[in-house]
Symmetry: C2
Subunit: 352 residues, 2 copies
């Protein structure tokens, strides 16, 4: 338990300048943020301060050696203005898994949970109620300690910032199965939510965008033989009515949406398999008509149906489908998130 | 040509507080830095300003998506107080190679070269003359643009900071040949000087340090079969009097020291091969006595002899050797860098 998180209130609120009916994703920020410093071998008490610039020495290691990790969560508001999180402890655990791999000191549970809930209670008016909107919650941590020596820093900052947001994708998603570039190495940091994993995806994604796709589906870096995940989503396919997703490993982010969907599928009697998916299998299933659906799953994108995929210059359209698993699973998970249905899994977490 | 780089002078100099006889590596910074902003699709003119904190929005993409790259150079002072750089255009070219892979806008040559030389002329009193010391030059570039959307930023900062520094390693270097973790993926960003490549090395390096080593020698991520490079150095071995180093590829940084050493070896009649080096070959050569030397090569570490390597829990000591290639090559390269000998390669660049 972190006692009395100090709050320095913003002089004025920006909330009245915000058009909650036309929110993009992650470009509007609330009035306050949570800040917590690591120094002298320990995490200080988190503080709530006005959202604003961070001053860093030019030799801070964040600028040089990529010690940076983050999480992505959402806060939801129900009809009665109750505020909810979805499996927040999973984010805390994953933050620390990422921290360990990047040689960043782990954060105590209470700093994370008490900081997060205090900030959300203060900022609850910022949680949009429009359908498809939510308050995107961005915990992040980086090396603030200094020095041009390639070694871990001695100081870190943990921050939580909040961004009322609309949908991540607008419209149909068309993906390219990658044959040249890779997202992660065996024995690397792909399973961590490390900043560097994202920057490395931008250039190959730009190439895909130039070819008319929205996202890259990453494949293994040995032979580009197996489907792994997308930019900020895990990937599911439905072949002959079976839902399939790749097993997590040290190259793939262990998505909270992904594992929730697997649990929901089981509860709803959807046959599901966690196993390697070869590109060949997907292409053949697309050709012979047994590939019924493909979708991405992640906190930001929720469940995003994939309309087509490209591979070796050929585009494969997915059929328009009634009663898709994607819509069934999306309904169930968002009903839990927005407190519109019973939560038999115990995933919902009441903030206020 | 960048016209009139504006200079905002520091009110006072810190130079008299610095003990130039006891410099560590990369912890002391000069009075000024070069700053250059990218916005509205173009790089502004670089400016020289007092060295000091940089203020960034919490949603700046550097904190979230790892768009950060850097370079490492040194400025050298000769007996007559002449100031020199070593192959600076190679650093500029590599910076832009890194930039491209990380979807960061490339920097014009004049911004880099005019900015660098102007800054060095202003700060030339900071270049140490003590043997083994130099002014470490750190150009770096990162995403300052904002937003919680995993996509390239629209604003960037390019900065050059200077750090008078002593030796990078003190004493003998003992390395561990890595069998579990990896530095880079095929098709990834290993060949770029991207921040994220370094953070990913820290944890495996800490494990190696706990076992008594200083550095990890990275191997390919498929089977850990071939030797690639070390933390901030390329690696050379000498077996049966032949100098061998791995070919560069998309997992290995194309080191300027490495390629200079290959050219020097040729000029000095040292037989050299650029080819894959299997761990097996090195271990066998160590066992049968044909492994005569191993050393790392890089701007920071110059040429650093390796005294022993560990593999699968066994340590292999390298012999103490007279007339080592390491010392011969180090002498020749540093004689060129410090303007102590003729530079038949045309590598030295006069700053003032
Ligand atoms: C690379 C990657 N994969 C998958 C996901 C989905 O994970 P989660 O469902 O926990 O948001 C994310 C986003 O968080 C991600 O960044
Ligand atoms: C990963 C890595 N390899 C090799 C090198 C050596 O390159 P250079 O000789 O250009 O300094 C460096 C340092 O710059 C490096 O960071």
């Amino acid at each position: 338990m972190v006692n009395n998180i100090s709050v320095e209130k913003a002089a004025t609120s920006k909330i009245h300048n915000v058009d909650f009916d036309n929110l993009s994703f992650g470009n509007t920020f609330t009035d306050h943020m949570l800040v917590c410093d690591y120094e002298n071998g320990a995490w200080n008490s988190p503080k709530i301060v006005p959202y604003g610039p961070i001053a860093l020495e030019p030799s801070s290691k964040i600028f040089h050696y990529g010690q940076s990790i983050f999480e992505g969560m959402k806060a939801y508001k129900d009809e009665a203005d109750g505020v909810w999180l979805f499996r927040p402890l999973e984010n805390w655990k994953r933050l620390n898994k990422s921290a360990k791999r990047l040689a960043i000191p782990e954060l105590p549970e209470s700093h994370f949970m008490d900081g997060l809930t205090s900030l959300l209670r203060l900022e609850k008016d910022w949680i949009p109620k429009n359908p498809g909107s939510s308050l995107y919650v961005r915990p992040f941590m980086f090396a603030s300690g200094t020095g041009f020596h390639a070694s871990p820093a001695d100081k870190y900052k943990f921050i939580i910032a909040l961004a009322p947001s609309g949908a991540y994708f607008s419209g149909k998603v068309k993906v390219k199965i990658e044959e040249t570039y890779s997202r992660a190495a065996n024995g690397g940091v792909g399973y961590a939510k490390a900043g560097g994993n994202y920057a490395g995806q931008f250039y190959p994604t730009q190439l895909a965008v130039e070819e008319g796709y929205h996202q890259v589906i990453w494949t293994d870096d040995n032979n580009h033989e197996f489907i792994e995940e997308a930019g900020a989503m895990n990937v599911f396919v439905r072949i002959n009515d079976t839902l399939i997703t790749a097993p997590t490993n040290d190259r793939i982010l262990d998505g909270i949406t992904r594992k929730s969907i697997l649990d929901i599928a089981q509860a709803e009697g959807i046959p599901a398999e966690v196993r390697k998916i070869s590109v060949k299998e997907v292409v053949e299933a697309a050709k012979n008509g047994s590939l019924q659906e493909m979708f991405g799953a992640g906190t930001a994108a929720v469940v995003s149906p994939i309309a087509a995929f490209g591979y070796k210059g050929v585009d494969y359209e997915l059929p328009e489908i009634q009663n898709s698993y994607a819509s069934q699973l999306k309904k169930r998970i968002t009903d839990i998130q927005y407190n519109r249905a019973e939560d038999s899994f115990g995933w919902r977490f009441k903030v206020s």
